[in-house]
């Protein structure tokens, strides 16, 4: 089906700009009216835990389909921002709004830990991601397709305990992708992986994002990862957005290119200069 559509629609695919993914091709099969990512608007967002004010007024607009990376030192509030976007914490003040037609299954999160059910085979772990659709007839074929996208369909009948760390994280990605989310939030998803696995996972993330066109929000402490993947890098300091940098490099990006390295350097110096001030 996927390849058939690809051959029918080659022009459309070419016509789509590089940072706007040809998602319609994939999404059309199951969700004809929800083809793209959702825009995201945040106004005056505040959040405290006890006396500790973690977010002190965030205003942010993310257009549909954009890949945004959020960087900052640990404890700056970046993970809290992500958890609020994902609806895992209650908002103290302000608002977060997605488009008018957003549903709960449109927004998915991937964590630093894979959080797979150890007592379920890989395939049924992916089926968990279908939410209420997991009882439907097509559940298995959709889960298989998501596993194929992350290159693990041959592991479908394995227990999670036999997989490597990177493979577990790919299963978690398949679980997040299987419902064709329109916003995908990543909370340091590659933080626990070794350097080489990280790079191949970054490529995988970039590829599925380009294929499916969801809005991606990546929280990371790794600035080079942020500039390699994102259209836009937000620097958060002490609960506020301190910097908002567009990354205009073309895709697929060349790791270690001068352009990206310069950008990485300027963001890093920003983060470190905050260190010197305090």
């Amino acid at each position: 089906m996927q390849t058939a559509l690809r051959t029918i629609l080659p022009e459309t695919e070419l016509a789509i700009p590089a940072n706007f993914a040809p998602h319609a091709r994939v999404a059309r099969e199951e969700r004809p009216f929800q083809a793209s990512g959702l825009p995201l608007s945040i106004r005056g967002l505040r959040k405290s835990f006890g006396d500790n004010e973690v977010l002190r007024g965030i205003d942010l607009h993310i257009p549909a389909g954009q890949f945004v990376a959020i960087v900052g030192k640990s404890g700056c509030g970046k993970s809290t921002l992500l958890r609020l976007i994902a609806g895992l914490e209650k908002i103290d003040a302000g608002s977060i709004s997605f488009g008018a037609d957003a549903q709960a299954a449109d927004i998915r999160v991937m964590f630093q830990e894979p959080r797979l059910l150890p007592w379920a085979r890989v395939l049924s772990n992916v089926e968990v991601g279908l939410g209420r659709d997991r009882a439907s007839d097509s559940a298995q074929s959709r889960a298989e397709k998501a596993l194929t996208e992350v290159g693990l369909v041959d592991k479908r009948d394995q227990w999670p305990s036999v997989l490597s760390g990177g493979q577990k994280q790919r299963v978690a990605l398949a679980r997040a992708l299987v419902s064709r989310p329109r916003v995908l939030a990543f909370d340091e998803p590659l933080g626990a992986l070794d350097a080489l696995t990280r790079i191949s996972m970054q490529r995988l993330l970039e590829r599925v994002w380009r294929d499916q066109g969801f809005t991606a929000i990546l929280v990371t402490h790794d600035v080079s990862e942020a500039v390699a993947l994102a259209d836009r890098v937000l620097v958060i300091e002490e609960g506020r957005i301190a910097d908002d940098v567009m990354v205009n490099a073309s895709r697929p990006r060349v790791r270690g290119s001068v352009e990206l390295a310069a950008l990485e350097g300027s963001i890093l110096s920003h983060l470190l200069s905050a260190d010197d001030r305090t």
């Binding site: 709960a104 059910l117 991601g129 939410g131 227990w159």
Partner: protein
């Protein structure tokens, strides 16, 4: 190459099934030694009869139907008592693990009752129930209740909260969350409770039957003592050992079947 072959040979040369026989070598050796000692006159027959005499007594009781009847009665009491006590313990474990209110209401009370040795209740139980079936069932159920309660509660409380959060994010309803996340997560701990409970089940039953019963294995042993039939007494003790082993094996089989995902149960 030849060195590697000769080193790895003993490993491959294992007879099939030898792993299964291995645990039985020690009990069998004890029986053989015991028989030899009895025949040689090292152990007086009035202290400990020879295994062959015990087997003969067992054969006679089997033919008269007495042995089968007593084993069946004890087995029935053990199972029903286990189901009642285990069922209630499991229900309380679930309730107190899932609901703070329930835990606050009942946990303190249960912990107080737990510290009373349940066999100390035998005089009271005899006054309440006489030497009726219900007396034995009550004691077994009470003994089995606590290990299952405590381990179910512990299992549910220690389910990874990150998995529960994951289940909620993916829209699981409460019942689905229980079925797919909480219960499977608590299962290893519940099995620990079951295996403890099985031991307590036999202990309680035999003590209860020895003191107050008119049938069952414990009663059979006490009757034999009255008539100085030491071979039957020893036979009863050996049957306890076998029944205990059987119960433990049954729970292991169940454990293997339901915990196949657990790294501890996976064969390399």
């Amino acid at each position: 190459m030849s060195l590697i072959d000769s080193v790895s040979l003993p490993r491959n040369f294992r007879l099939p099934g030898i792993d299964r026989l291995l645990p039985w070598i020690v009990p069998l050796a004890i029986i053989v030694l015991w028989q030899v000692a009895s025949v040689a006159g090292l152990v007086p027959v009035r202290v400990l009869p020879a295994p062959s005499d015990v087997a003969l007594a067992g054969w006679k009781l089997l033919l008269s139907g007495e042995l089968g009847r007593n084993i069946w009665v004890s087995f029935w009491r053990a199972s029903i008592g286990f189901l009642i006590g285990g069922g209630i313990g499991f229900a309380f474990g679930l309730a107190n693990g899932l609901s703070q209110l329930s835990a606050k209401l009942t946990d303190t009370t249960l912990q107080m009752v737990r510290n009373v040795p349940h066999l100390a209740l035998i005089p009271l139980v005899i006054l309440w129930f006489g030497i009726d079936e219900s007396a034995k069932l009550f004691l077994v159920a009470l003994g089995v209740f606590f290990p299952i309660y405590l381990n179910t509660l512990h299992g549910i409380r220690t389910v990874d909260p990150q998995l529960i959060e994951m289940g909620r994010i993916y829209g699981m309803s409460d019942s689905e969350l229980f079925r797919r996340v909480i219960f499977p997560g608590a299962l290893p701990s519940i099995f620990v409770g079951i295996r403890f409970a099985l031991g307590i089940m036999w202990l309680t039953l035999i003590v209860a039957e020895t003191i107050a019963a008119s049938s069952g294995l414990g009663y059979m042993a006490m009757q034999a003592r009255e008539f100085m039939q030491i071979d039957v007494v020893v036979l009863s003790i050996l049957i306890y050992a076998l029944l205990g082993k059987l119960a433990d094996s049954a729970s292991r089989v169940l454990e293997r079947a339901t915990l196949a995902w657990h790294p501890g149960f996976q064969k390399n």
